[in-house]
């Protein structure tokens, strides 16, 4: 068979590349494609390959916060208003496709447009800023404000500093962004089924290209260094209020590289579930337990530890054998025969 090229993987398995970049914490389509190729399509293995490479790279600086309102949008939907300023932009999605195997794709040369993707027809919105739906709610005071962190404020980095508890939200979000999609999907789903329910509405989901800027100290002003593809999900959740403060909706947030709506939405659900402490709610479910969620979300850690059971453990098992034979012998009645001549 002809060998797959990295360009083929990058373009024809683009969503696999997106997932590997997100959970691998490295925005590099070519390296992610290489990892997918080397891992023969095992995405968790590909994520591991990319992580092990990333860890050798120096961290040169911290970018300014992404301005997702200035995103060049390919897709943007809000489930909480029929129409919003800038409009609903369907863009590429599997959502309304009928999941019928397209046998025409089986014939070579049939791939003209990305498979199973329907375009909204309106095309990209260009570079005009598209106001975020949450900002519109915020202007009315209907949703909790999220003031931008103070300039120069330190952002946590799990890849440099170990996770400690209680964890700050920036670190939690980083953990979730790197977290296994399947794990987050299950956790997010569990919140919907009553394990830490938080009444979510998909306030806005947008996918597109966004500029990354860096303000080097010696320069004193920001320069654009790259454009990356991201998906952002903002959930509007359970309102809270009291006799002293008027009712307000709360937020859950998800942000991932590339086109990965499922992951971004699950992340937003779990982010909101983990905010129990700061919102003064009573944690009642594993989905709201940050130690439980954050300690077990990482596929590289989980995959390694589960599979390490394949390594020889015969020394510890020998110790257990010695003990169990002793206990059985002490128990009497025929148990001694269970011990071979070595005991």
């Amino acid at each position: 068979m002809p060998e797959l090229s990295l360009a083929q993987i990058e373009q024809q398995l683009a969503l696999a590349v997106d997932r590997v970049m997100t959970e691998g914490s490295l925005h590099d389509r070519e390296l992610a494609a290489l990892a997918v190729k080397q891992a023969r399509g095992d995405l968790i293995e590909a994520i591991f390959l990319l992580r092990a490479y990333r860890t050798t790279l120096p961290r040169l600086g911290v970018s300014l916060p992404l301005d997702t309102a200035a995103m060049v949008v390919h897709r943007r939907v809000s489930a909480i208003f029929k129409d919003v300023p800038g409009g609903q932009i369907l863009g590429p999605t599997f959502d309304y496709t009928h999941r019928l195997l397209d046998f025409e794709l089986a014939a070579p040369g049939s791939l003209v447009a990305p498979a199973g993707v329907e375009s909204g027809g309106e095309g990209d919105r260009g570079t005009a800023p598209l106001p975020r739906v949450m900002d519109l709610l915020d202007r009315e005071g209907l949703i909790e404000s999220e003031p931008p962190s103070e300039p120069g404020g330190q952002v946590g980095d799990l890849t440099r500093e170990p996770l400690t508890f209680p964890a700050r939200r920036d670190v939690r979000l980083q953990n979730l962004a790197r977290g296994d999609e399947g794990f987050l999907l299950a956790m997010g789903y569990a919140t919907q089924r009553g394990y830490g329910r938080n009444h979510p509405f998909a306030g806005e989901i947008r996918h597109g290209e966004v500029a990354v800027s860096l303000a080097p100290e010696e320069l004193g002003f920001a320069v654009e260094i790259a454009t990356i593809s991201v998906t952002e999900c903002q959930m509007v959740n359970q309102f809270k209020g009291s006799s002293t403060t008027p009712a307000q909706f709360t937020r859950g947030y998800g942000l991932v590289f590339g086109a990965a709506e499922r992951k971004a939405m699950a992340m937003a659900l779990v982010d909101r579930a983990l905010r129990v402490r700061e919102l003064g709610e009573e944690p009642a479910s594993p989905t709201q337990d940050e130690e439980f969620v954050l300690s077990h979300s990482d596929s590289v850690e989980a995959s390694g530890f589960v599979q390490h059971l394949k390594l020889p453990h015969y020394v510890d098992f020998q110790s257990e054998l010695v003990l169990v034979r002793d206990l059985r012998a002490a128990h009497g009645t025929g148990a001694a025969s269970a011990a071979p001549d070595g005991r």
Binding site: E161, L311, H313, L327
Partner: protein, 283 residues
């Protein structure tokens, strides 16, 4: 896309960070120091903590030995030894006496260690209280307050249920009378070797991002009760290959009729005791 890696794979900044954690661990024996554990080119759970500690303390003049289950020839030991041979070019050995640095999983060599040697132990779960309290926030508090009663209760419950403490590996120890420590999953047979060891003992848990240490000559006591003193496992027979008495023996099932061979788990120790490396026939 060819890339050259730094000596021992890790960059120097990372090694410095790990060395700082190691120094703190040595200064506070038995205390688990959090560190910014890196992703390694080996799976988590396969010795990434030990590998990071080794990578940050190894120098060009070191002679490295790597064992797993006491054996130099087990797959993961071979893999880790090759990793360092490839990324550092240092000399490797199977000789316990000839090594300056030994990385191990699940055993401490039978040959007594000497001053100046470093033993690096790979640790899956560093927290001795973890099965009693799953929350890290809680267990850190318990260590701070030296609140170790639950561990004694757990051992006591074993005695009431089984007549003896039914913990065979990762048997808890008190280090220098202060910190409760999980000695990685070595069999309790090896616990006495921790006490006043002339060698520096370093413990690395990569996935759990903790480093701890037992500096040379530190008192290490396995938990017990006056009327139920700590005891180690013993075999009423000698090694079938070298005739060693009082070594940790592995049990090999050699046929389907109950035939068994008992041999030293420490392959270097066993080979040295056999004349010219000739295996003696099994019993």
């Amino acid at each position: 896309m060819t890339t050259r890696y730094n000596f021992a794979y890790l960059d120097e900044q990372t090694k410095r960070m790990i060395r700082r954690a190691v120094l703190k661990a040595v200064a506070v024996p038995g205390y688990q120091v959090p560190f910014g554990s890196r992703e390694m080119p080996l799976s988590y759970g396969w010795g990434t903590g030990g590998v990071q500690v080794t990578a940050s303390v190894i120098g060009p003049d070191d002679v490295l030995k790597v064992i797993d289950q006491g054996a130099d020839d087990t797959t993961n030991a071979v893999s880790i030894r090759r990793f360092f041979a490839r990324t550092t070019g240092v000399a490797t050995t199977t000789s316990t006496e000839g090594a300056t640095l030994i990385q191990t999983r699940h055993r401490i060599p039978e040959t007594p260690l000497r001053e100046g040697q470093i033993l690096v132990l790979q640790v899956p779960i560093p927290e001795p209280l973890r099965w009693l309290e799953p929350r890290e926030a809680e267990t850190r508090k318990m260590h701070a307050l030296e609140e170790y009663g639950v561990m004694y209760v757990r051992l006591y419950e074993d005695i009431t249920r089984h007549g003896k403490v039914a913990q065979t590996y990762e048997y808890p120890v008190m280090v220098d009378g202060r910190y409760l420590m999980r000695p990685s999953p070595i069999p309790k047979f090896d616990n006495p070797k921790l006490d006043r060891s002339p060698a520096l003992l370093l413990f690395g848990a990569g996935r759990e991002k903790r480093i701890y240490a037992i500096p040379p000559w530190t008192r290490v006591k396995s938990l017990d009760f006056d009327d139920h003193p700590f005891e180690v496992e013993h075999w009423d027979r000698a090694c079938d290959l070298c005739g060693a008495q009082g070594a940790f023996l592995d049990e090999l099932i050699v046929d389907d009729k109950g035939g068994r061979l008992f041999i030293c788990s420490d392959t270097d120790y066993c080979a040295r005791r056999r004349p010219a490396g000739e295996p003696r026939p099994g019993a």
